[in-house]
Symmetry: C2
Subunit: 286 residues, 2 copies
């Protein structure tokens, strides 16, 4: 991998430090040769536009170059390869919504903040359905991804949770959102790609499934109402499964938070600023 000609479909290939350099963009022009005719930003934006409009399948280096009116290989002056381009696309797109999320102060609790974040993430995946199809090696933390993380951690600041628990909780929440989003997006994409609607699809399966169910091997399924799988999958505020699951998950989190607050009441859920522990146990996050 990474060695011979064709290889990559994944993000995050070899040169990690190079990726980070691009992500955090020092952007120091050495000023010797001719002035570059392109910018990283333009390339990433063009790539995102292609993916948004026609899906990841249509995203090729040739295509991006053509859209920018340059030769294919010119892109490689700015980006080491497609993998790194995907990393950049990811961070470009995960910026928090401009209209803002409710600021999780000590007055408002963690829950509305996390709920808003979950909905924002859900919307993010609806708007960029290719996000979950990127063969992401490891989430390269760029500025925008850090913004998101910062917001999420800030939301949990007032709780008595240990730092490690906070991260685990956030990973679980993100996993839930992306997992359910994946399900809904797969259906939506299949529908638009094959022209077969969800209902048509179930109708087509009916002969085979009907026979299977009637075989007696699936008694519980046989007892279900007819159209249990129907019901407005991806609209507005998220699918019903998303709504139901999110509420349940946050309820569960609330129990954990209440428990930690009870056993270690040094951290009242309502407090102005705090966290002046002895000293020295804090430092930069990695």
């Amino acid at each position: 991998m990474t060695r011979s000609g064709t290889s990559t479909e994944h993000s995050g290939s070899g040169d990690l430090s190079r990726s980070l350099e691009l992500l955090w963009g020092t952007g120091d022009r050495p000023g010797r040769g001719p002035r570059p005719g392109l910018t990283l930003g333009r390339i990433v934006a063009a790539a995102v536009a292609v993916a948004d409009a026609e899906g990841l399948g249509a995203l090729s280096m040739r295509r991006v170059a053509a859209d920018l009116g340059v030769g294919t290989m010119s892109l490689y002056r700015y980006v080491p390869g497609k993998a790194e381009l995907l990393d950049l696309m990811l961070d470009a797109v995960v910026a928090l919504p401009a209209d803002g999320l409710p600021e999780p102060g000590p007055d408002t609790g963690w829950r509305p903040a996390l709920e808003a974040l979950a909905h924002a993430t859900w919307r993010l995946h609806q708007e960029h359905p290719w996000l979950l199809r990127v063969d992401q090696g490891r989430p390269l933390l760029g500025p925008n991804a850090l913004d998101r993380l910062e917001y999420a951690v800030r939301a949990l600041a007032g709780t008595g949770l240990a730092d490690r628990e906070k991260i685990q909780l956030l990973v679980a929440l993100d996993g839930f959102v992306t997992g359910t989003a994946r399900t809904v997006l797969n259906s939506a994409r299949a529908e638009q790609r094959t022209g077969v609607s969800d209902a048509d699809f179930r109708r087509a399966q009916e002969p085979a499934l009907g026979q299977a169910v009637r075989s007696g091997r699936y008694p519980a399924l046989a007892g279900l109402d007819e159209d249990v799988f129907g019901g407005a999958p991806g609209d507005g505020g998220g699918s019903p499964a998303f709504t139901l699951g999110l509420a349940a998950l946050l309820d569960g989190f609330a129990a954990v938070v209440a428990d930690r607050a009870a056993t270690a009441p040094a951290h009242p859920p309502e407090g102005t600023h705090h966290q002046p522990p002895p000293h020295g146990t804090h430092r930069a996050a990695t």
Copy 2:
């Protein structure tokens, strides 16, 4: 798509009924020409073996054919294309574990059953890390997938939930499991593919992240303990985030179940067999 030569990376291409036919295998030999030298099962098994051992990237029609000692194009006598092969691989692999899951009788509740199912699904993804990388169009329900669904629905039989709610709950649960699995698998795969360990990775990010955090833009992150992201990700019983999230989610489900049991007490959580409603409202699931 599906029209010109190269196209597919997704599962579930055009001919849906053909896929179903393969999945449910009528297997009627017309008996005229020479006897086939291969079987669908052998092809699918070989393909799964390749994917398990070397990942989806190594899975090509040429490779599978070579492993079976036949010409590449011979495979197309058995399978319409790679997309359908992937569908078959999926259903082949999602069979419930042979050692069984706790049978959700009226005596034992729904929770241990769903918990066991969630862990089984988690393990499934650990054993076949390529599963979540398949560009699945729509989950083609094969016999094994139906087994899984049957088990899950049976688990919820005793609860007072509406059928639609049961499905939503199960979709949410599956979304959570696959979502968190994806996170863990991405890390693991990145580590093995690039040779950069998780710890190395964080060390490599440290210069960029450290500077970013020290910039003051991320106060909440700056306040975190050092190694919050560490801690045995993918071992044994699931990652810490998975464990924590699953418990929380099931707690939340429990509240929903309790609520439904309270408002419609016609369905006691403990009951022998039941569900003889007037009649006619039931029929096959689709």
